[in-house]
């Protein structure tokens, strides 16, 4: 079946692409196709759609003060390597991998002299700030898969289905990560449900 997906950007006139199946080719995949051809509007739209995911993945791994710069690196890398992406339908998972690798690279470059726990060095101006910083540190002490998923859920405000869709993880994996991570976090916080 042929359909036309309107990739309006930003106001109703720009891109209409013919696809063979509305199921097989997502809007994001079409944006990737356009971006690969040099359409910066399409890339900007991808940037907007995935900025929170990249931010969350990085926040789960690197000090807060580094996230913004590293996120820009991630998008620069994605932009430059877009031609190497073979399946436009897996853009989210591919971008998530770039973000995770960038975080790993950051720690390698820093030779471990910067630890995640430097988030505690923030100067909290209120009790709530201090509590939030403390909770963030606890979340970041969880196993990697759990802390990433929990940060996407609790910090970035994404739902489980959104996390799965964006990161390319299966809904089942995300659900398990959320629940196990939440259980571990409750234990660390001393909260009994």
């Amino acid at each position: 079946m042929e359909t036309i997906v309107d990739l309006t950007w930003p106001a109703g006139h720009l891109h209409k692409m013919k696809t063979q199946s509305p199921v097989a080719v997502s809007v994001d995949a079409q944006l990737v196709t356009l971006a690969r051809r040099g359409d910066r509007e399409a890339f900007a739209r991808l940037h907007r759609a995935y900025a929170s995911m990249v931010h969350g993945i990085l926040l789960a791994r690197v000090p807060r003060g580094e996230v913004e710069d590293l996120a820009q690196d991630v998008f620069m890398t994605a932009m430059q390597r877009l031609s190497a992406l073979r399946d436009d339908n897996v853009f989210g998972g591919w971008l998530a991998t770039i973000a995770r690798n960038r975080a790993t690279d950051f720690h390698r470059q820093k030779r471990d002299d910067v630890e995640l726990l430097d988030d505690v060095t923030a100067d909290p101006s209120s009790h709530t700030d201090a509590e939030a910083a403390h909770v963030l540190i606890l979340v970041k002490s969880l196993p990697e898969a759990y802390r990433e998923t929990l940060i996407l859920r609790l910090v970035e405000g994404m739902t489980g289905p959104e996390i799965a869709e964006r990161t390319g993880l299966t809904p089942g994996s995300v659900r398990v990560n959320l629940h196990r991570g939440m259980r571990m976090l409750r234990e660390k916080l001393g909260w009994t449900s």
Binding site: T77, L154, G157, S193
Partner: protein
């Protein structure tokens, strides 16, 4: 799975108080999307709506795809190269290429030009009679200051990574290519060749699309963008309206001399004017470019964003192509023309000049 688990999964079902509390506590660390590439126009705190891009984005970044490796680690060093004459980097004459750092000044005289490679994200040509300072070279913040003269920027990077500060506004790259000129009085003129550029001052942004020009004034900021094909009389009245008190008489002139190439600016003005003047603008716009189905006078007067967008989308129509500016800019070296350089508009054969 109980109701609490459903809330954790997709916020359905009964709220889990622990999750709710954590959302509230940790939400402060959420990405604040100032980096949204959406070209939102914020003019005079009156209205916000989404701008219509007027030309397809350029294909510049294809050049880097597959050709360059990732920009990992600290930002790549910036080089400045001589194009003609003898540009000066700080106090040293530039004979070939040299590395530059934050705080360095690049100056050209009337017979010299230089080009700056902005890390891995683009290049900036410094035209004659210009003074440019490198302000910041972080990977998330590539920033220059144009004290005077003209630069031509070509950027292939995600939006909001490249900034040029001027005495009257900061140009924020949202995509691709533009020319920026600052005269001796600090007045600026932006001409967008491809993509969009935002002009920001005091937290308010005006987004200028490809094919449009926008002027700025110290102490005031950006004016209203206009197509290069706009008439001289229109531009003069618009400048008075934007920068000299927004008098009703100037608005009347703006409306009276408006035609096809000026209707884009009328659309831009809608949220900026008083409610009673908005009706006048609507009526003139409707004469030139009848509103599409579904766009009503009442809706536009109420600044209905959807209607404004739909009407704005008309500016992509073929008949507006001759109105667009293709800014081949160069700063005039004529000693009698000491302020603005000229921006010649290839499509319209219109040449701007202010002395």
């Amino acid at each position: 799975m109980n109701a609490h688990n459903d809330y954790l999964w997709d916020r359905s079902g009964q709220e889990d108080p622990d999750v709710k509390r954590l959302e509230k506590l940790l939400g402060r660390y959420r990405l604040v999307s100032s980096a949204s590439p959406l070209p939102v126009v914020r003019r005079r705190s009156v209205a916000v709506w989404v701008m219509v891009p007027l030309a397809a984005a350029a294909t510049l970044f294809i050049a880097v795809i597959g050709g360059k490796d990732a920009a990992f680690g600290p930002p790549a060093s910036w080089n400045v190269s001589r194009v003609t004459g003898a540009p000066v980097v700080d106090s040293d004459r530039l004979s070939a290429t040299t590395k530059v750092g934050e705080g360095d000044w690049i100056q050209t005289d009337d017979s010299s030009e230089a080009v700056i490679s902005v890390g891995t994200i683009g290049r900036v040509q410094v035209e004659p009679n210009s003074r440019v300072q490198l302000i910041r070279m972080r990977s998330s913040d590539h920033r220059l200051a144009l004290a005077k003269g003209t630069l031509r920027a070509t950027i292939w990077a995600p939006p909001r990574l490249f900034f040029v500060e001027t005495p009257s506004a900061t140009a924020i790259d949202l995509g691709c290519a533009y020319t920026l000129t600052v005269d001796d009085l600090g007045r600026g003129r932006l001409c967008v060749t491809s993509g969009w550029v935002a002009l920001e001052r005091g937290g308010r942004e005006t987004v200028v699309p490809s094919g449009a020009v926008c002027e700025t004034r110290p102490g005031i900021g950006p004016g209203t963008p206009y197509f290069g094909g706009a008439s001289e009389e229109f531009r003069a009245a618009l400048a008075r309206f934007d920068f000299e008190g927004a008098g009703h008489g100037d608005l009347e002139t703006v409306l009276r001399v408006s035609n096809m190439c000026e209707v884009f600016t009328l659309w831009q003005l809608l949220p900026s004017v008083r409610a009673e003047d908005r009706g006048l603008i609507f009526d003139r716009m409707a004469q030139i470019l009848p509103p599409p189905p579904g766009v009503t006078r009442e809706g536009v007067l109420a600044l209905d964003e959807g209607m404004l967008e739909v009407w704005g989308s008309q500016f992509t129509r073929e008949e507006f192509m001759p109105c667009l500016t293709s800014c081949t800019a160069s700063l005039s070296v004529d000693a009698s023309q000491t302020h603005f350089g000229s921006v010649s508009c290839a499509r319209t054969n219109v040449s701007y000049f202010e002395s």
